[in-house]
Every structure is written in structure tokens, then in C-alpha cells.
């Protein structure tokens, strides 16, 4: 069986500066895979390349066996790959409901969309209470819920979450990570980028540690969680 997503020797550059220097990894259906590492390691660049916002200078991306690196960004979500971007990027001057519906922009099954909007409100009741409010008025954690809800509206086969816990209070961070765990339990395939390595590894089937554009260490979530060098570098232990 081939993996849902296969990344092979991927290279991405901003001008002459290579931000991703040839990484390879794969995500199997039903798995949670995480990329961890400090700022500037190339995690966000990797996700933005997978969703077509950046074009790779080398390597291959295959999604469901088909090459992805020549597909324009707006056609990628249609293939089943949704991206909840770093910094949330909700549409601030549109209502919460319009934000959610934009997540289903390419879907034509109106009944299914209605059902999924209701489902998003059940998952995140606060969004339902404020559905007619401009999304920019939400708190950071609520915006993160909206961004995740919006990404799920496309019914993705692979959900990419970029730093969902960034800048959130510990309570809100816990809530967001609980939601990721819940999605995993429901069988959603997730590629998770996190700086909160502890939380990400605890959830993940597989983890990859990135440093300046390269994957320096890979293993199961539990292995990495107990790896001495990872504990020192990313989990704040001496």
C-alpha cells in the first residue's frame, strides 16, 4: 500500500536561500504525523509547499499516488488536502458562518455543507453562538477553532495544521490539542506542525525533527518523546 502523502527529497528556496534542503517523509491514511523544530527550521515552508502556495525547486510530492508539485494552490484542496495556516488567517471582516462556508467553497452538496456547518458548531459551540459576528472579533483560541473548523469543511483526506497552539493561553492550548486528539480518534489523517513538541509527540504516530531545512531525526512519537537529545533540545530538560 502506498502512503497517502509521499514527500521525496523536497527542496524549497526563497530566492537563493534554500529553506528546505531535501526532506523525505510520508503520511499513511489514519496517521498523525508531526514535524517539530524551532523557528526557521522549514516546517511552515514545507506545509505551504504541500498546499501549493510555494513552488518547490526540487523533489517530488505525491498525494494519493499523483504528483502534486505542479498543481496550482486552488486546485489542491479539491484533491482532499486542507491546510489550516500558521497564524490562523481567518477572514477577519467576514462572519464566522461565511468563514466556515468558504472552507466548503468547492463543494456542491448543499445538504452536506449544512450538516457540516452544524457539526462544526457542535464541535465548537462558541462559534455557533457567534455565527453572525465578524471573525476578527474572536479571541485567538476561538480563531484557531474557526480555522480548524474551516479546514474541516472541505472534508479533507489529509488535514495539515500549522502551529495550532501558537500564542494561546495554556487552557486554550489544551483545548486545541484535545480537539486534535479527538480528530485523530475519529480517524482523520493529520500532518501537524508544532513548536509545542511535548503535546505534538504525545499525539503523533510518527514524528520528524527539523533543523535548518533538514530532517535530523525521525521515529514514532513515543520514541522521540523519550529520546535524550529531543528532550534536551525541545522539551526544555537538562
Amino acid at each position: 500500500m502506498t502512503a497517502l502523502l509521499e514527500v521525496e527529497d523536497l527542496r524549497v528556496a526563497y530566492g537563493r536561500i534554500e529553506a528546505v534542503k531535501g526532506i523525505s517523509f510520508s503520511v499513511e491514511a489514519g496517521q498523525v504525523v508531526t514535524l517539530i523544530g524551532i523557528n526557521g527550521a522549514g516546517k511552515t515552508t514545507t506545509l505551504r509547499t504541500l498546499s501549493g502556495l510555494l513552488k518547490p525547486v526540487g523533489g517530488h510530492i505525491r498525494f494519493k499516488g499523483k504528483p502534486l508539485d505542479k498543481v496550482p494552490a486552488h486546485k489542491i484542496v479539491e484533491l482532499g488536502l486542507a491546510h489550516s495556516p500558521e497564524g490562523r488567517h481567518i477572514f477577519p471582516r467576514m462572519t464566522i458562518e461565511d468563514n466556515l462556508r468558504l472552507g466548503a467553497y468547492l463543494r456542491k452538496d448543499h445538504e452536506g455543507i449544512e450538516k457540516d456547518v452544524q457539526h462544526a458548531y457542535e464541535r465548537f459551540p462558541i462559534l455557533g453562538e457567534r455565527r453572525k459576528q465578524a471573525a476578527g472579533t474572536l479571541s485567538g483560541g476561538e480563531q484557531q477553532m474557526l480555522a480548524m473548523g474551516r479546514a474541516l469543511m472541505s472534508r479533507p483526506e489529509l488535514l495539515m495544521l500549522d502551529e495550532p497552539s501558537m500564542g494561546l493561553s495554556p487552557i486554550m492550548m489544551q483545548k486545541i490539542m484535545d480537539t486534535v486528539a479527538e480528530l485523530k480518534a475519529q480517524g482523520t489523517t493529520i500532518l501537524l506542525v508544532e513548536q509545542n513538541a511535548q503535546a505534538a509527540l504525545a499525539l503523533a504516530d510518527h514524528g520528524h525533527v527539523m533543523e535548518v531545512g533538514r530532517i535530523v531525526l525521525s521515529g514514532t512519537g513515543q520514541d522521540l518523546l523519550h529520546d535524550e537529545s529531543v528532550r534536551k533540545a525541545y522539551l526544555g530538560e537538562d
Binding site: S51, A73, P85, R93, R101, L102, L106
Partner: protein
């Protein structure tokens, strides 16, 4: 002060024309952050497109009432074609260039379009007469409304209602809002932002064509430079209303039109200003 109501109405009419043009500046700016300096020329080519329909396509002596809808359609087709072609070949290749590059290009496009009309449109080296409605205006109290203005009174509000409905209620309209607010994330939703940009140019051009026709009807003539002053004022209106905001553009147009009309009438009555003719102030 007996001319005040009349001047207010004149100002509102003039202002709704500016507002129609301003919508084009504001929509394009809202989405690609480009001040399309060639938009005044889109307005001008729309007026010439309408003139072409009347003069060269329709049989001589067609009633203007019958001709007008066809002239509007013709003007829109020309404006939209010019806008879409300039977007495709002048602005799109510069999409990721520094902001100054498309801005300078827009000025070049503006001059090019003026000179093309000047050089190739028959008789456009000087003003060309635009068809006029016959008959005198009708009176509403102290206010006289010219037949030429009835078009604008109907067209401007209708256009704005259409635009507001389109942007707020349709799927493409919401995609347009999303693209204006966050283009990269809009693409993640599956929105083809290049297509949205073309639609924004096209709607702005259609509105400019309506303004171009009403300009021709009001002033009785069109010329290759008409887009410069009108475009400048409409740009001012767009900035006044908050550039990127379509309602603001219309409102800014109205405010500017009324201010211009009142200034032209009353500044000469301010003590010490009497030696300036009123008309001297209208373009300030």
C-alpha cells in the same frame, strides 16, 4: 440662496458619476493593492464604445431611447475588453514585482490608451459630439432635471444595489471578499484568485462604461482626454471613502460632487474671493 437645491442636485448627479468610476479604483485596489491609473481611460473607452454603437452600427436617426441600452452594452463590452486585456498583459506579469512597477505600468497604460484613441478613432483628434436627448428638462419645485440626467438617476442606484448584492450574497462575491482580505488563504479555500481579479477589473470597467455614457449624455461630447480629470476626481472620491471600500467609494463620489458643485457656485460670494470666477474652483 435660491439656487441651492438645484446645485445640490447637480452635485449629487456629478457625484454619482464619480462614484461609479471610483468603484473600479476601489475594487482593484482592494484585491491587488494596485492604483489602476488607467481606469480613467477605461471610462473614456466605454464612452467611445457607446458612441461607436450609435454612430457606426445603428441606422441613422435611431431614437436615443432605443439606442441607449445597446450603447450601454457596447460601451461595457469595450471597457471590459480593454480592462481585461490590460490586466492580462500589463499587470499580471508584474503580480509579484515590487509595488512601484505595476503603478508605473498603469501610468503607461493610461497614456497608451489615450494615444491609441487619439490616433486611430475617427475624428478623435478633437472632441466628438455625443448623441443628445431632445426636449427641455422637467421641473420639480425649484429643481430642473435634464433628460440626460434621468439615465444617471436610474443607473447609479441600480448599479450600486447590484454590486452590493453581488458582493454580499453570491458565492463569487464572498470569494472576492476573501481574496481582498487574505489572498493566500483564499487560495487554500480553492478560490481561483486570478479569476477573481479579472472579475474585479471587469465589474469596475462595466461601471466605468455606465459613467462614460452618462458623461457623454451630460456634456454632449467625448474626447480622448476625458478620462484624466474624471479619473483623478473619482480616485479622490475612492480615497475619501476609504480605498478598498465600495460603499465608501460611492459616498466619497457624492461628497466630492456636492462639494465641487457648491464651491463653484458659492466661493465667488465669499468676501475677497469675488474676482475668482466660480468655475475656476470646480477642479480644485
Amino acid at each position: 440662496m435660491h439656487e441651492l437645491p438645484q446645485q445640490l442636485v447637480n452635485g449629487l448627479l456629478l457625484g454619482s458619476m464619480y462614484g461609479l468610476i471610483a468603484v473600479g479604483y476601489t475594487m482593484v485596489y482592494g484585491i491587488i493593492k494596485l492604483i489602476n491609473f488607467a481606469h480613467g481611460e477605461i471610462f473614456m473607452t466605454g464612452a467611445f464604445g457607446a458612441l461607436t454603437i450609435y454612430t457606426y452600427i445603428l441606422p441613422n436617426g435611431t431614437s436615443l431611447w432605443i439606442a441607449l441600452p445597446l450603447m450601454i452594452i457596447g460601451g461595457m463590452i469595450v471597457s471590459i475588453a480593454v480592462a481585461v486585456i490590460t490586466e492580462r498583459f500589463a499587470y499580471r506579469p508584474l503580480r509579484n514585482a515590487p509595488r512601484l512597477a505595476p503603478l508605473i505600468t498603469a501610468i503607461g497604460v493610461s497614456l497608451t490608451l489615450q494615444q491609441l484613441v487619439w490616433a486611430f478613432y475617427p475624428g478623435a483628434k478633437k472632441e466628438r459630439l455625443f448623441p443628445q436627448f431632445g426636449g427641455s428638462g422637467f421641473h420639480l419645485g425649484a429643481v430642473t432635471i435634464q433628460p440626460a440626467d434621468i439615465f444617471l438617476i436610474v443607473a447609479a442606484p441600480l448599479s450600486m444595489v447590484f454590486l452590493a448584492t453581488f458582493v454580499m450574497r453570491t458565492r463569487t462575491g464572498r470569494a472576492m471578499q476573501a481574496t481582498a482580505q487574505d489572498p493566500d488563504t483564499a487560495r487554500l479555500m480553492g478560490i481561483d484568485t486570478e479569476r477573481i481579479i479579472v472579475i474585479a477589473f471587469a465589474i469596475g470597467a462595466a461601471f466605468a462604461a455606465i459613467a462614460g455614457v452618462s458623461h457623454g449624455l451630460r456634456y454632449g461630447q467625448v474626447d480622448f482626454r476625458m478620462g484624466f480629470i474624471a479619473g483623478l476626481k473619482a480616485f479622490t472620491a475612492a480615497v475619501l471613502g476609504g480605498i478598498g471600500n465600495i460603499y465608501g467609494a460611492m459616498l466619497g463620489g457624492l461628497v466630492l460632487g456636492v462639494a465641487e458643485s457648491l464651491a463653484a457656485t458659492y466661493i465667488q460670494h465669499i468676501p475677497g474671493m469675488s474676482h475668482f470666477g466660480g468655475g475656476a474652483w470646480q477642479d480644485v
